[in-house]
């Protein structure tokens, strides 16, 4: 048996295995993980991830509080606090706080979390930090559906949202079906996505060009992604969707951790590769659909939030919980900025997230030494 030179340092016992697998082997220093156990449920988490997660959760809460207090309609902080405490003396102010600000803030957090979670799923599945649901043409398809509703059918916001979901899902299915030839090869999916995306993009441009100016502007606002005029109705629908999708995403996160090692390795350790992948794609698409139906296609959250989360926790892949928290934080803060920066004009929140996203990518290229992208 060849000696492992590293182990021949003086005074260090050689870690020779005993015959068979019974007796315990010497264990390395256990510094990095914490095992949380409660009854039949047990979970192993890295300390740093746990810490970052807790801090992020606190930050999200703070941001949401700030956005509630400092939102768009000029209200003194004192008054807002009073309203939150139950004071209903000023019905209009009360209305603005309870029917507009609070749902807006909650929706922002929920949409951010959903988008970030979806982005994390797609980036890990495609093993590409630039991966996003756009690959299967979802965003473009959603835009087509929404634009058709706005420009061709002059529809109400709820119908626009429904159109977006139908358009997006239809496109995703079409792209998947068109790239299916005894299974879906990754490169074929990308190319078909490009082709379908281009066609839909052209149709969108056609609609925007041929529409009346007001219709086109309404469409442009929707396309930017906006939380303006958010009410409890869409928020509750989004929450209902997330109540199902988030647990599903978390359950599938474990096999995802094996899928990033490659299909073969994952299959060898007992992961049902095709089934898990399909489930993950379905959950990812559903998350995006729910988010887009609620707030339109917010740029960049799905792309940037998981990577930011990954950097904060210094892990090789984007964990779902941290990604979701970062996404929520980004959207809530962006919405606050969007409301205040050109006050009283409200910018759509998508413009702020888009700018942040662009800046993020530039920073990534310019200031990252060990750049995992390249």
């Amino acid at each position: 048996m060849t000696a492992d030179l590293a182990e021949l340092r003086p005074g260090r016992p050689r870690a020779r295995p005993a015959g068979g697998r019974g007796p315990a082997a010497p264990s390395p220093p256990r510094r990095r993980h914490v095992v949380l156990a409660l009854g039949p449920w047990s979970l192993r988490v890295e300390r740093r991830v746990l810490g970052v997660g807790v801090v992020l959760a606190v930050l999200v809460a703070v941001a949401m509080a700030a956005s509630t207090l400092f939102g768009d309609y000029g209200l003194a902080v004192r008054d807002v606090l009073a309203i939150l405490g139950g004071d209903e003396s000023d019905p209009r102010a009360t209305y603005f706080v309870t029917e507009q600000r609070i749902p807006r803030v909650l929706a922002g957090a929920a949409v951010g979390a959903a988008l970030a979670l979806s982005g994390a799923i797609f980036q890990n599945l495609s093993r590409n930090p630039l991966g996003s649901p756009d690959i299967i043409g979802f965003t473009v398809g959603a835009a087509s559906g929404a634009l058709a509703q706005i420009i061709l059918f002059d529809a109400a916001p709820d119908a626009v949202a429904a159109g977006a979901v139908v358009g997006g899902l239809g496109t995703a299915v079409a792209v998947y079906a068109l790239s299916w030839q005894r299974g879906v090869a990754a490169h074929r999916l990308v190319l078909v996505g490009v082709g379908v995306g281009a066609v839909l993009q052209a149709l969108n441009a056609l609609l925007v060009v041929k529409a009346s100016l007001t219709e086109a502007q309404t469409a442009a606002v929707w396309l930017a992604g906006s939380l303006n005029a958010m009410t409890w109705g869409p928020l509750l629908r989004l929450s209902a969707a997330l109540a199902v999708l988030v647990p599903a995403a978390l359950a599938l996160a474990r096999p995802l951790g094996s899928l990033v090692l490659g299909d073969d390795v994952a299959a060898a350790t007992g992961v049902r590769v095709e089934r898990c992948r399909l489930g993950l794609v379905a959950v990812g698409v559903a998350l995006v659909a729910a988010a887009v139906a609620t707030a339109g296609p917010l740029a960049f959250v799905a792309l940037a939030a998981p990577q930011i989360g990954r950097r904060l926790t210094r892990t090789p892949w984007a964990g779902p919980v941290v990604s979701a928290l970062v996404g929520a934080l980004v959207v809530v803060l962006s919405d606050l900025v969007a409301q205040r920066i050109f006050a009283p004009t409200q910018l759509p929140v998508g413009v702020v997230t888009g700018s942040l996203g662009g800046a993020y990518l530039i920073w990534l290229l310019a200031w990252q030494r060990r750049n995992p992208l390249l």
Binding site: S179, V194, G195, A220, G357, L361, I362, A366, L374
Partner: protein, 371 residues
């Protein structure tokens, strides 16, 4: 074919098999007997193909001149071109359709060549010249020009568009080579995505706050040959010609570089200089085209593939093919856009509507030749 024959340089006959350049045509374009006799056959076949391409272009030119609000016979078209008789048809043909047609041909050629350069430079068959931030840069400049000055009209913001495209290309290149790193194709692509995204957000901010700007922008962004007459052509054509000449001069170096940076250096190519110059050529060609006409999809992406399907990855042939093929493609798209519905569909939209399904059909072929 040996590497030396490809690049026209006296160099070691390196194994060209390892660094297989992207794109189809390895088998199709160079099938036939090997050796000197085979080379002669190939060259004459390619020359014939080029003549066919030019023929297609002439046909497209003719169609573009014939078709419009009223259909003119070919004889009438030729008559007006050669000996104008001052009738209404003269102004239609000479004043309106000729500049539009020529502009379409020039822009199409520019995009085709830019695409060929792009795909060769990045060794990526999905290379589209717009990826380098050029479309976004032109768009932002146009938007700002209208927003700040309140003036509209393509004759006015053409210059801004060109400037914006150039600045964006410079920004992308700088970002791609920041930190004294090499501006490798991968870095350039990601820098392009980053800059385009940042610019897109800025564009959105402006158009959502100014109605007039929004109106101008949505028309420009569709990519149209409408309303661009001789003035535009006079500005754009020389620039494009310059770009194409530059591209032609770069072809031997690009051929060598297609085998990989290391192989190229071994053959004596100055990699960094070639890359910079190629990017400049792409910026000039694509910038001029986009500034004049708006962003046009798929011509830059598809034309090189068509060319390579016929002649293989030799840039010395791809470029001459890209010129008539690109021009013809754009003109045909424009004609279809005018013919299909009573109210014209912009050419930028038509190219995408047609290009997308063609791409999908290609991808679905059993032996995928794209990659």
């Amino acid at each position: 074919m040996t590497v030396a024959a490809w690049t026209g340089r006296a160099g070691p006959t390196a194994e060209a098999g390892a660094g297989e350049p992207g794109g189809p045509g390895g088998a199709e374009g160079t099938a036939g007997p090997a050796g000197p006799a085979g080379a002669e056959i190939r060259t004459s076949r390619r020359a014939v193909g080029l003549a066919v391409a030019v023929g297609v272009l002439l046909l497209a030119l003719l169609l573009s001149l014939m078709i419009g609000s009223n259909l003119l016979a070919p004889g009438e078209v030729l008559h007006q071109l050669l000996s104008p008789d001052g009738t209404g048809n003269t102004s239609v043909i000479r004043g309106h359709r000729v500049p539009r047609t020529v502009l379409g041909a020039v822009v199409g050629a520019a995009l085709g060549v830019a695409g060929a350069l792009m795909q060769s430079l990045t060794r990526n068959p999905l290379g589209d010249p717009g990826v380098l931030g050029i479309n976004a840069g032109a768009g932002l400049a146009v938007v700002l020009a209208v927003a700040v000055t309140g003036r509209t009209g393509i004759g006015f913001y053409l210059w801004f568009g060109f400037l914006g495209a150039g600045l964006a290309a410079v920004a992308v290149y700088t970002l791609g080579s920041v930190g004294r790193a090499e501006a490798t194709p991968a870095r350039l692509a990601i820098a392009g995505v980053a800059i385009s995204a940042a610019i897109a957000a800025l564009i959105q901010t402006v158009i959502l706050t100014d109605q007039q700007v929004f109106n101008e922008f949505r028309l420009w962004a569709a990519g149209s040959l409408e309303g661009r007459g001789w003035p535009i052509l006079r500005i754009v054509a020389p620039v494009v010609a310059l770009g194409i000449v530059g591209a032609a001069l770069l072809t031997p170096s690009l051929n060598a570089l297609a085998l990989g940076d290391d192989a190229g250096t071994a053959l004596g190519v100055r990699v960094r200089r070639t890359r910079t110059l190629t990017m400049a050529a792409v910026a000039v060609l694509c910038g001029a085209a986009t500034a004049a006409v708006g962003p046009i999809a798929f011509v830059g992406l598809g034309v090189p593939h068509l060319a390579r399907a016929v002649v293989g990855p030799d840039q010395r042939w791809v470029l001459p093919y890209a010129v008539p093929l690109g021009a013809a493609m754009l003109l045909v798209a424009d004609v279809i856009g005018r013919v299909l519905v009573p109210e014209e569909i912009q050419v930028g939209i038509v190219t995408a509507l047609l290009g997308g399904p063609v791409l999908i059909a290609l991808v679905r072929r059993p032996r995928l030749k794209l990659l």
